[in-house]
Amino acid sequence: MTEHTNPEGKERIGVYVCHCGTNIAGMVDVEDVATWAARELADRGVVIARDYKFMCSSLGQELIEQDIKEEGLTRVVVAACSPHLHEATFRKACANAGLNPYLCELVSIREQVSWVHTDKVAATEKSKAVLSGGVERVIHHEPLEPLHVPIHPATLVVGGGIAGIQAAIEVADAGYPVYLVEREPSIGGHMSQFDKTFPTLDCSACILTPKMVTAGTHPHIKLFSYSEVTNVDGYVGNFTVTIRKKARHVNEELCTGCGICQEKCPKKVIDDVYEAGLGYRKAVYTPFPQAVPKFPVIDVPNCIYFQKGTCKACEKFCPTNAIDFQQEDEYVTVQVGNIILATGFDLFDPRVVSQYGYGRLANVFTSLEFERLTNAAGPTNGEIVLRDGVTKPTSVGILHCVGSRDRNYNNYCSVICCMQSLKFAHLVHERTGATVYNFYIDMRTAYKEYDEFYQRVLEEGTLFVRGKVAEVTDAARLPQEEGKLIIQVEDTLASVQRRIPVDMVVLSAAMVPRHDAHEVAQLFGISCSSNGWFIEKHPKLDPVATMTEGIFIAGCVQGPKDIPSSVAQGAAASARVLGRIQQGEIALEPVRATVDESKCSGCRICNNLCPYNAILFHEDRMVTEINPALCQGCGTCVAACPAGAISGTCFSNEQIFAQIEGLMRVNFQHEKLAEMA
């Protein structure tokens, strides 16, 4: 790249003010700004000042390229929209014309001026000030090269639900190694707990287990079940991840998955995770028969041997003596280039909604408990029965929006409860013939075949009451209410108060973020919103990426969604990862900090300011050095260095000071324009 430096040593700056149609021109007098810049900022090096309808259009860019070539511009300032939108566009234009892209500055006069102010004169005034700031700043820009960082082909997928499995399979199918980490003893996630799935009423296991087996046996997928990620270091393309394989106390090489140990184990425990507290499992268990991997796990707190030192039934009966009580947790460190987080959701705990009586009234069930009831491998082998495990309900009430769309709990809609409740209604009809009431506020059946399913359930005779249920109580007022759960609801269509006695109530509870979402977000260095859903790079245009390069999210971890969307996001995330791996390397923004060792006195004030520990101290030379690869460019150390020995590219002190001077040069009494120093 030829570097044009003109004789007087001043930079030759080109200023371009964009109309953006009327978005900017509607409020800012762009011509006046351009002419003002040409006149007032000439002595600062502005040689060209144009205004143009659409700077980001190819014509606009050619304008810049032409000027750079013909006028020998050494700096370019564009006053238009937000840098987050077109900074890359104008940098590319400069690069095409042979000017180092980092010598271009984009000043926002649309989002931060024309769109937010109402007074035309003030908006034009502010545009001039902001432009002047940009011009002063760009003088101090230095040519930079983006940092090229190699991408490690391996990928880490956290979370073995349907989204994680889909992502893992797609990346592995492309021939790249994948480490799939799942906290529970088996992959499958929430989907493995369901019996049927809407709207097609496919048996959930039938469509899930093939994918689980593919993931379990895939040559390129290394499965870490019953494991957790404990530490993540490094940056995009070069993550070092430490995985803790919790001790299963079963030797995976020897175990054949025959299940004898589970039969012989004398200790029965309520299974709170897989059976949602509705069924029992042994102290040594696999969550469900089709578990992948098939190896059981010993639940130490409940195992008689571990608590009292006796029993050891499983060890006696194990044909391949695969039981190994001395097995320790294992820490495995792996290198990966990209990470996909698909850690899923937790179910809202309806106990806090005391009016619905969950936990107090026996026959009130959560949606997950009902799923286990309907599941053939469930505690009741698919029989829909009351809490006593025997009686079939003659009437069932299904409540939508429990904990969703409710200011006291969660404002958002959990997307799947309506369809899930319709599925429940259908299953109750099919299996018990009981009368079914669905209590909804809005029926949300938005996607393919969803509304058709709703009409089908309507035709089956489900009674729909539009109203938010006020109370579920067992205090009968009339004889026919004795021994029943009475649902008190206002039927807003018929505008009448109803008291409907039913045998069983199912609460379609909301989806809430994982209880440890904040810790996981902190561990992976991505931001998660205050209520716990992980924040995507852009809600509409970039839902699977995050602000942190190299870390992607898929499925319900980003927010409530149904299975098709989770699968789609899993595939999307894997596509993004494969794109990265294909590139082989990634160009990182050259925003870095560097230490001038002659000025550094080794005072070590900056040493513990870097969460990415990019700052290392050389005891021998008593001098600090910053590892450009690890440095993310936040600039905290630049601001903290007492000796001013650390400088940061793209946001150096000189640039910011100059920008402040430029900004303040134009004050409101525009006739009293302070003269240049």
Binding site: K599, I605, C606, N608, T636, G644
Partner: protein
């Protein structure tokens, strides 16, 4: 060149304490080299030369002028302009000339407050509450005294300065080296450093020369040095909670104070290329406070009762804001 062929040398002190003159004297025999190589033409504390003598000299006739002291009143400013006209090389000698130093701290008070402190304090016997009058009528005629400016300015805020020599006072060995350098320049054996650069000091900070052991800094609180029962002789003072300005102060003094068990108070001024000395210290100290809870941070900061004094003891006049708001409002 003066009559005897030796280059002329001048030294003047404006708003300062005179310690810099004594530091020059303190160079021991080196003062003889000065006399040998220079013709001292103007040095009010050492010889009897009057302003009109200087005015009589041709412009640029004085080779080297060491000007110490800030510009507090009209006379300082007049002499600064005069010496600038008369001297070839003018050095801002000492912290007062470079950055305002202790006299610069007066920029925190308005003129009225300063006069009250001086003419109306407990130790002053001034029943009639007199104040200096710039113009008084006496039988002999009108007497004028130099106008007292509300803000003390550093030398380079009044005239162009060729070189800066920080320190309060500059270390004698540094003065000696500078004198040798200038002598060599006279004899053509060396060339002058680039204009405007700092001489007589290092370009790192005091920590570089401090023998104490330095570890990662996490400050739980600040303490005054006299409140610490027994001080660890080898460990960095800042890590023991003593607010030591060493990390931000230019090296050159050999870290005399920290070696003697006292915290550095920053007399050698900011390091190379630093815009605001106090800002550097505020940022450094605050960044390593080991707490994220605002209330706890406030408690720790309460242990720094006088932040302006701590961070701007020497650099107030040379800082970005230079003086307190009421001073400007006068």
């Amino acid at each position: 060149m003066s009559a005897n062929g030796k280059p002329k040398f001048a030294m003047y002190w404006a708003a300062s304490c005179g310690g810099c003159e004594i530091a020059v004297l303190n160079t021991g025999e080196k003062i003889l080299d000065v006399d040998a190589n220079f013709d001292v033409v103007f040095w009010p504390v050492a010889m009897d030369a009057k302003y009109k003598d200087v005015e009589a000299m041709p412009d640029k006739s004085i080779l080297l002028t060491l000007f110490n002291g800030g510009i507090r009143n009209q006379e300082n400013e007049a002499m600064a302009h005069l010496l600038r006209r008369k001297s070839q090389i003018l050095v801002a000698f000492g912290s007062c000339a470079c950055e305002g130093c202790i006299p610069g701290l007066a920029n925190l008070s308005t003129t009225e407050q300063i006069f009250d402190a001086v003419y109306d304090s407990i130790t002053t016997d001034n029943p009639q509450n007199y104040r200096p009058q710039y113009q008084t009528k006496v039988p002999e005629g009108d007497i004028h005294i130099p106008k007292f400016y509300p803000v003390l300015r550093t030398l380079d805020q009044v005239i162009d300065v060729d070189y800066y020599m920080p320190g309060c006072p500059p270390e004698s060995h540094q003065i000696a080296e500078v004198i040798d350098l200038v002598i060599q320049v006279i004899h053509g054996q060396a060339s002058l450093p680039p204009a405007g650069s700092v001489i007589g000091a290092g370009n790192s900070t005091v920590c570089d020369e401090c023998p104490r052991q330095r570890n990662v800094k996490t400050i739980k609180g600040f303490q005054r040095i006299q409140d610490i029962a027994e001080l660890d002789p080898d460990l960095c003072l800042l890590e023991q909670g003593i607010p030591c300005n060493g990390p931000a102060t230019r090296s050159g003094c050999g870290a005399l104070c920290p070696q003697a068990g006292a915290q550095c108070i920053g007399c050698y001024g900011p390091a190379e290329g630093v815009v605001d000395y106090g800002a550097r210290l505020m940022s450094a100290f605050a960044s390593v406070i080991d707490s994220n809870d605002p209330a706890e941070i406030e408690q720790i900061l309460d242990q720094l009762p006088d932040p302006a004094g701590q961070f701007y003891r020497f650099n107030l006049a040379g800082s970005l804001l230079r003086a307190a708001k009421p001073v400007w409002k006068q």
